[in-house]
Symmetry: C2
Subunit: 471 residues, 2 copies
């Protein structure tokens, strides 16, 4: 049984931490980006790993739950405990130092509370790239990005957050500290604790520091938007891009016309590249070595693809500004979606070759439920679709609360049946615990539970996230 | 307590498996590549995952230990149980089917007993590359490669075995099967069991199948060998290669003159590329997209490096044959080492920028013990040195058994003190259990033990590997 934070426990924490460590128990700590649920908790913001360890030890002694709070941008409620004994919300915001940068090694070591954009900036300052890039990069922090194994637009080339981390510093649920901040590229000494902590959503310990992998900055970067006749053609274009451009392919994003229509309807305002809006288009981003210009590579790809009937129209950015304009389209689609207001949004991944069939069958399944608008877009190179369902013009999401669960179940059943995942990059949090139970292999679930019980026997770390709290 | 395989238990296994599943209890199953230790066990070779599960269930019921046996090429004794109750040695050799290849997805699914060279061949057949490449690729099998998180020459570009695996099928220590053979690029649904099993050296379960990641074949491949004035210069050349060639850099191998001298002394015969043998040289391998010839890229790099004083001489391969000749030098060094006979060999990794200092201080530490020849070579791009110590000419390794432990401890202490690892890519097995205990963070060791106890409570899976058996 977990105990709530009591006035006596608060007083104890005030003995342990300096006065600057205490925050008002208000939003943003207790709300989430879409404003759908509210949390509870006593908010503390320690500034060092030793302070984090001291808080955790105090909580462990009293069986008080801890909810780690990073940038607060998660979409599945992993940062919010709605019910049960009032927890400590442990914010990483004051652990925001870049500890060291090693340009020769392509390595950066930082606190877990550093904002992603600040990591990107620190890499740029030494002529390197930290390639993790996603919509919330101005507020998401390293600890949360690692705890959710964040994805974003460059996974195709550089992998997800997991692939960009070499080492971790973690405060365990008993308050001991695992000093795993290695700068090594290779270290086969025992089980892979790093990757176990990454993606554990704060349920096995608190990440307080990380060694991150930087990469060389490509000599020539560029982008193109190409209209494709179908999702199948987009997949063939992806394979063709692989044989032309290889590892130089940084992103391959699918966009449906619905995204353009939403942007035209509610903004944000973007420059539309096509004379006639295609049903499907892709945004291709490349970064190439010295001696090969991005425009040339993209023109070569376009010509080959046009000859093969895989593209019908296209725009190749002739400058970094034009490249940014193309990206503005892609990056503003989530904001347009928010303005329209989705009935249900999904973070689906599929085996690549199953994507076209999923799009077709998903549309049929939704049509069987009712008349909706579908905006399907996302990271096609990773088989990751953000498949969002919206009301028809003039109606609002509130009109469809009854259909919402039907839509969700239909799409998740379909994805699962096709070998897909119902959480490609957002994680389980508390929102998808039921999905994990419904779709997860029972042997896998037993292993998850065994690991949780072994590493957090008292169950104080982010209880109810990923795994349901034992009754 | 574990029970030995008895005649009654053998009879039970003969009821479960067809007669073709039983092998003679001889080498190679009970020996290792360098012939240093002998194992024991009753050898079975099931042909399907269900047969593996049946064997494991029988063993679990009787508390009989299981030693998984893959290609048998491991260098740390993970495949050999020397003492204690006679185990079942479970060979994967009959699970050797490529299950499916998905060229569009860059995915291949196979049994764990497939030999690495056969995976490479299957990828080539569909114009793709499976980039894991190492000396033992003609006999090493997928299960062992994953269980040891194998490295090799292309880790710099493509990552180690872990980075090339999307999903696993695993028989757990209770005989249940985790069906995790996903073809997904992204799947954030629960803890990362895949990466926990990868590198666990068969102590948490038996990998029976894997989904592997293929990559596009680079349009132009090539190599160069360049003489560098020092390890420091080699590191600066590596950084320069990153800015010129970026992801196109496939391998960056350091070679000391001692390697050339050994090849000249005992063979194998190779074509020596330099007119005057340099103290240090590097082998650089590249794979580039369409529109950029490897020779041009390597020439550009050489000119820039020569101008900066980072290289003094160099040979750029003008054909695939010449590229192979350069690689033959690198790949025959381990065989020359074997013929000379090392007193002690090491698989060290270091933070990249610590490599030159380690080489200097390592040499001093060895000189303080006695007069030896040192062959230091390896994957500089990964900070991974194969640092091997040999007797002076006319003497043999048998003359230095007393010094052996001194050498080992001096080098391992030094690497550990500089933030390095004493097992970069070979794993812990049984040979390095003491090293893990000596150098491992105690909090890390407690976590390893908790995970082992949680996932294999009876302790039947490869007992004594990675972690010492409880007394």
């Amino acid at each position: 049984m977990l105990s709530p934070v009591t006035p006596a426990f608060e007083a104890e924490l005030r003995q342990i931490l300096p006065a600057t460590s205490f925050k008002e128990d208000t939003a943003p700590y207790l709300s989430e980006p879409r404003g759908r649920w509210a949390g509870q908790g006593f908010v503390v913001a320690p500034a060092t790993v030793d302070e984090v360890a001291a808080v955790v030890k105090a909580c462990a002694a009293e069986h008080v739950a801890i909810v780690p709070y990073s940038g607060g941008t998660g979409l599945v409620g992993g940062q919010l405990l709605q019910e049960g004994a009032k927890p400590v919300v442990l914010s990483l915001e004051r652990m925001n130092r870049i500890r060291a940068v090693y340009p020769t090694e392509n390595v950066l070591v930082c606190d877990a509370g550093v904002i992603l954009a600040d990591v990107q900036k620190a890499a740029e300052d030494v002529d390197r790239l930290f390639p993790l890039s996603l919509a919330s990069e101005g507020s998401a922090r390293v600890g949360g990005l690692l705890s959710t194994n964040a994805g974003g637009v460059n996974v195709l080339r550089y992998g997800n957050a997991r692939a960009l981390c070499l080492g971790l510093e973690v405060v365990r649920p008993d308050g001991t500290v695992w000093h795993g901040l290695t700068r090594l590229r290779k270290d086969n000494t025992g089980y892979d604790l790093r990757d176990l902590m990454i993606g554990a959503e704060g349920t096995l310990g608190i990440i307080t520091g990380a060694t991150l992998r930087l990469v060389p900055r490509p000599a020539s970067i560029g982008a193109a938007m190409m209209a494709v006749p179908s999702p199948e053609a987009a997949l063939q274009l992806l394979a063709m891009a692989g044989s032309h451009i290889g590892d130089g392919l940084s992103a391959f994003e699918l966009i449906h016309r619905q995204g353009f229509d939403f942007l035209a309807e509610v903004g944000p305002d973007v420059r539309q590249p096509f004379t006639e809006l295609p049903e499907w288009s892709v945004l291709i981003d490349v970064g190439l070595p010295k001696g090969l210009a991005s425009q040339d590579a993209l023109e070569g790809l376009f010509e080959a693809a046009f000859g093969a009937g895989l593209v019908t129209d296209g725009v190749i950015a002739q400058s970094l500004n034009q490249r940014q304009e193309l990206w503005d389209i892609r990056e503003n689609i989530p904001e347009a979606n928010r303005r329209i207001g989705s009935i249900s949004s999904h973070d689906i991944s599929l085996p690549l070759s199953a994507v076209p069939d999923f799009i077709k069958r998903g549309g049929e399944a939704i049509a069987a439920i009712g008349a909706f608008r579908i905006n399907c877009f996302g990271h096609l190179g990773d088989g990751n679709l953000h498949y969002n369902v919206f009301p028809m013009p003039g109606l609002s999401r509130a009109d469809f609360m009854a259909e919402r669960q039907l839509v969700k179940t239909a799409l998740h059943d379909l994805a699962h049946g096709m070998g897909g995942s119902v959480s490609a990059e957002h994680g389980i949090g508390r929102l998808k615990v039921g999905d994990l139970e419904r779709y997860g292999d029972p042997v896998k679930l037993a292993m998850l539970r065994a690991i949780k019980d072994a590493l957090d026997p008292a169950g104080i770390m982010n209880p109810g996230a990923v795994l349901r709290q034992p009754a």
